[in-house]
Symmetry: C2
Subunit: 284 residues, 2 copies
Amino acid sequence: MTSTNDLWFSEYHTPDVRFSIKVTEQLYHGKSEFQEIAVFDSAEFGRFLTLDGYMMLTERDEFVYHEMIIHPAFAVNPNIKRVLIIGAGDGGAVRELARYKGVESIDVAEIDGEVITVCKEYLPQTAVGFSDTRVHLHITDGLKYVRKKTDYYDLIIVDSTDPFGAAEGLFTKEFYGNCYTALKSDGILINQNESPFYDNDAKSAKRAKQRISSVFPISAVYSAHITTYPSGLWLFGFASKSFQPLDFDGQLWNALGIKTRYYNTELHKGAFALPTYVRKLFGE
Amino acid sequence: MTSTNDLWFSEYHTPDVRFSIKVTEQLYHGKSEFQEIAVFDSAEFGRFLTLDGYMMLTERDEFVYHEMIIHPAFAVNPNIKRVLIIGAGDGGAVRELARYKGVESIDVAEIDGEVITVCKEYLPQTAVGFSDTRVHLHITDGLKYVRKKTDYYDLIIVDSTDPFGAAEGLFTKEFYGNCYTALKSDGILINQNESPFYDNDAKSAKRAKQRISSVFPISAVYSAHITTYPSGLWLFGFASKSFQPLDFDGQLWNALGIKTRYYNTELHKGAFALPTYVRKLFGE
């Protein structure tokens, strides 16, 4: 739908940098116990979700984030069966997970049930993930939920917002330690790891990587290009008790026949080859 | 320098997407025979150059573009001696080129001498490139300049603006054919190849790649992340008469001791591993 209104959503990526999208319509606006939730429609990016004014996803480029937070772990370990996702109220990560027939159960720990309700209503493209029968929804703090489990999960995905407000605890050493305990001896932890470009984001990225490295024997960072996130260069963390992120047989993953728009097994290797300034940020 | 003025430079990446940088001061503004030239200062990105309102470079992230348009070719062929750069009025690509002791001559064909004059005055970080004694400046249309040479260059760099206005001719099949003729039998052509993300940019990227492929027996596209360019995901073309872009010995390049902030030989390989949607754009 077009609109004659000159209506723009803007996000300040830093106090001096602003990214703006022309909006055709605000579809939803409300406050939950935890945050301000809004859904907009736009010609360029389709519908998009913001939490406390920060861009969470757009229909146009969410495939990059959701493919990249899920598929690399499965290329490395095709035998993942039990998965915990923390956050992920939009359902996009669950949707990608549900494409693996070998996955037996998907626990979703989302602190804000209203995000799920809103996404089911306005963002079916991602919320479709919740319709899978293997999904078990837990409207609870992921920080607390993960403490209940020991030697249980093959994969934990931390699909969090930024490290302040509701998600602050999901960037602590204590939390990463609890993830370690909740994972099996060959478990993998994947986290959204912020961006290395703007100074404040880079500090968060560095801190998260350091804390994860202090808990897991194997940890690495990989990148993806997400147009609507600050700077466009986004990082994910890969941590494991036994798997090396580049030690995998691409043919095995390709044989699964999972159709993707961003991820492929060559790009998997490329994503771990970081720019020199990002390597330096992580002390490599 | 800080400023209390609420002054912003904005570029429309599409009619519905706007990227804005808070400006402390406009340092230069003028019209040349070919285009409107402006230089601004900003807290987040340092000084930046725009031509006809389009972002050309910022001091903060120009290293990505200039390293990535120069270094991959030298990793593949360390024996490059004669180079032609078309465009490059800011001097950044020349600066990176001049770091190779083996390079004997650098012809620069820039159509707009005023860009060079302005950059020498306001952007010494990149314009420093012009101070190298191996550089020969030709204020002329690159399209015409390249026609004069046959079997002469080891490397041609097309550091052009976007494919409209002054640079339109630098995206034609005729031009690529003339580059082919001007290159030696093991010559390499590198071009800025637009972005694959927004529809109009993607069309330009596809067209350039197709035309180059129709002229050169070997051609490939690689990517880099440039925060201040539309979508942040930018492409470069690598075309050659004999060299494969991934057939190189990283140790040889590393032995040169060239310090970089973005490029490294692992990233070189990763940069050619494109997202699936970009592969499809190029019909792969």
